[in-house]
């Protein structure tokens, strides 16, 4: 098992190197203008461009620039750890700009993740057990609806319906619990959570239904029933256990991918998280910020991959004895 872990961590490092290299290529090699001009923003003076050039080490060959970029990332630069550079457009270090926003994105992601797990998986299981019934067809149709509807449209429809027409939901914006109280914070997070969760809930319901249906055909389920166990015990103890592994893999990946996936919901509901900052940065030509968020997103997904693989070892004993 340790050999497996060592191999996986080695692979994690390689993946991170490749992804940071790709990000580096996008920002330092791809643009038609010098990266210094790109990073300094639209209203850059020649003096500023020269400073940026020195900071990024653009006088050196490309591979030295990449190593410098990596070194800042891993070891930190003069603004703190991780070294994400300086935003010349906003006159602040990128780290300070995104520090608070990470919490908001994390709140959105975790809340939505809990909701979609609680809604999606039970619906999928019940659909599989009652296969072919009216409930099954209805829930499949509804699940497909939420998978097919664009998330940003759904958010707007919810705002129009529940906030304007029916007046039962709170409006847009983020209200931190420390300043406005927990109740206001919760009220304003409810619609964003639900909007984000419904898409994934539909997907998970479908996936769970498929996996449970496949598992119900297995021999050991027939054995368990043959032994005379209660159907609920068969379901919970035997079927769900083996269904959980593919779901766990998907869940880990999805939560990590939420670092970038919350962009739409944040923009629709005006929550100043990482996603909305990425978009604002793009429109204001704050390239260092976009670079930082891209790298963070990529690292999050890759690390989540590793964590899920490690958990997999504990959930699936067959790997342990390789």
């Amino acid at each position: 098992m340790w050999i497996y872990l060592v191999r996986r961590i080695g692979w994690l490092v390689i993946t991170l190197l490749v992804i940071t290299a790709i990000t580096f290529v996008i920002y330092f090699v791809l643009p038609p203008v010098s990266p210094a001009v790109l990073f300094a923003g639209k209203e850059a003076t020649p003096a500023l461009i020269a400073t940026v050039e020195k900071n990024l080490g653009l006088n050196h060959p490309v591979w030295v620039q990449y190593l410098l970029f990596l070194k800042h990332l891993v070891l930190g630069d003069q603004y703190g750890w991780p070294g994400l550079g300086f935003s010349y457009v906003n006159h602040a270090s990128v780290l300070s700009l995104i520090g608070d926003r990470i919490i908001i994105t994390a709140t959105l992601a975790i809340g939505a993740a809990l909701i979609w797990l609680i809604i999606g998986i039970p619906i999928g299981v019940i659909s599989a057990v009652k296969r072919g019934s009216a409930w099954d067809r209805a829930s499949l149709g509804v699940a497909l609806f939420f998978v097919s509807a664009p998330a940003f449209w759904l958010g707007l429809v919810f705002l129009w319906l529940f906030w304007d027409k029916l007046g039962i939901a709170a409006g847009t914006g983020y209200y931190s619990p420390s300043q406005y109280g927990v109740w206001t914070w919760l009220n304003h997070m409810l619609l964003p959570w639900i909007t984000l969760a419904l898409l994934y809930a539909g997907w998970y319901a479908r996936m769970t239904r498929g996996t449970v249906l496949d598992t119900l055909r297995e021999d050991y389920v027939r054995t368990a029933r043959g032994k005379g166990l209660r159907e609920s015990r068969v379901l919970i103890r035997h079927v769900l256990r083996s269904c959980l592994t593919p779901l766990l893999t998907m869940f880990g990946m999805d939560v990590a991918a939420l670092v970038s996936g919350t962009v739409i919901v944040e923009v629709v509901f005006n929550l100043n998280g990482l996603g909305q900052w990425a978009i604002t940065a793009v429109t204001s030509d704050d390239i260092p910020s976009v670079l930082a968020i891209t790298v963070l997103g990529a690292v999050a997904v890759t690390v989540a991959n590793l964590i899920v693989d490690i958990l997999y070892v504990y959930v699936n004993p067959r790997i342990r004895y390789r």
């Binding site: 962009v263 990425a278 997904v301």
Partner: protein, 319 residues
């Protein structure tokens, strides 16, 4: 049995006429036709595609162009757009353009982009996946690892990054080959979706490679290329079609999301995502709900029906 059965003789004509082999694709089509939901989805897809193709015709019939302004239709007191009426079925937008015609044109943009990128992704994915599964060894390892890396990338952020970097100057990136606009969106979509197909194709190829008909073909002297394209590829077709049908709705939604965020197709091209984004300016959609609702319904319809067709196809080969 009317004729006596003789061992070694060919079967009587009435039997040979009715007994014939059905290819995998034919069986799939037969099962698909029996599935009512799948057929309904297919009909909706065909109708919407036809509407998209006939967009200029529809514009001519209604007399309203997609970018034609009708300032008289705006509510003269506040300059706000008017809602659905006899002449403007879906109302007008904030500049006075016909929303119905724009929706059809936007649907056209979405379909062109989604289908084009799906075709490119399938072509690349099938080739790479087949090569990886067939030859194995270091090629397989390299491709598998590369697929893992692409799947690990946060797609939205990378798309935003590339769009922003290549939009800095009008020259685009890579000496003008990567221009902001439709070609960039198509390229990005194809870039991030080919690994899904490659992975499936690789798995299938690994299984098919062991089959006897492949050994037989090689024994007859078929080259590697011929074996791959004449023996293995036809047996992959069914699965590839299913996954291609499932990639298309994803591409439609992704392009709509990119356009909504402002990093998709340029402003001059009508796009459903962009129409919804315009509706959020100053919370206009709270009053002018038709600006937001109808483009979204179009997106929902096309995506939902493609998904139903994909599900139907998957059931048709799975049984």
């Amino acid at each position: 049995m009317s004729a006596p059965v003789v061992i070694g003789a060919s079967p009587p004509p009435e039997l040979t006429a009715s007994v014939g082999g059905r290819s995998q694709l034919r069986q799939m089509a037969r099962r698909f036709r029996r599935d009512k939901f799948a057929m309904a989805g297919l009909i909706v897809v065909v109708v919407l595609c036809l509407a998209a193709v006939c967009a200029p015709l529809i514009a001519k019939l209604t007399g309203h162009g997609p970018n034609q302004l009708f300032p008289n239709e705006l509510n003269t007191v506040f300059g706000l757009p008017t809602g659905p009426s006899m002449h403007f079925w879906f109302g007008v937008d904030e500049s006075g353009r016909d929303v119905f015609v724009r929706c059809i044109y936007g649907l056209r943009t979405s379909l062109i982009i989604a289908l084009l990128s799906a075709a490119i992704a399938t072509a690349v994915g099938v080739t790479v996946g087949m090569a990886a599964g067939y030859f194995g060894g270091w090629l397989d390892t390299l491709v598998s690892r590369w697929v893992d890396v692409v799947l690990a990338m946060p797609v939205m952020l990378f798309a935003i990054s590339i769009s922003s970097v290549c939009s800095v100057t009008a020259a685009g990136c890579l000496g003008g080959t990567v221009q902001p606009g439709i070609s960039l969106v198509v390229l990005l979509l194809a870039l991030f979706t080919w690994p899904y197909i490659a992975r499936i194709v690789r798995g299938q190829t690994l299984v098919l490679r062991q089959q006897e008909f492949v050994h037989a073909a090689r024994g007859f002297g078929a080259s590697h290329l011929a074996t791959m394209f004449r023996e293995i590829l036809p047996n992959l077709a069914a699965q590839v079609i299913v996954y291609m049908t499932l990639i298309i709705p994803n591409n439609i939604l992704f392009e709509a999301a990119l356009s909504f965020l402002g990093v998709g197709v340029p402003q001059t091209t009508p796009s459903l995502g962009q129409m919804i984004a315009d509706a959020t300016n100053g919370s206009l959609f709270i009053y002018a709900w038709w600006l937001m609702l109808f483009p979204g319904i179009f997106l929902l319809l096309i995506t939902y029906s493609f998904n139903i067709v994909g599900d139907g196809l998957r059931d048709a080969i799975g049984q």
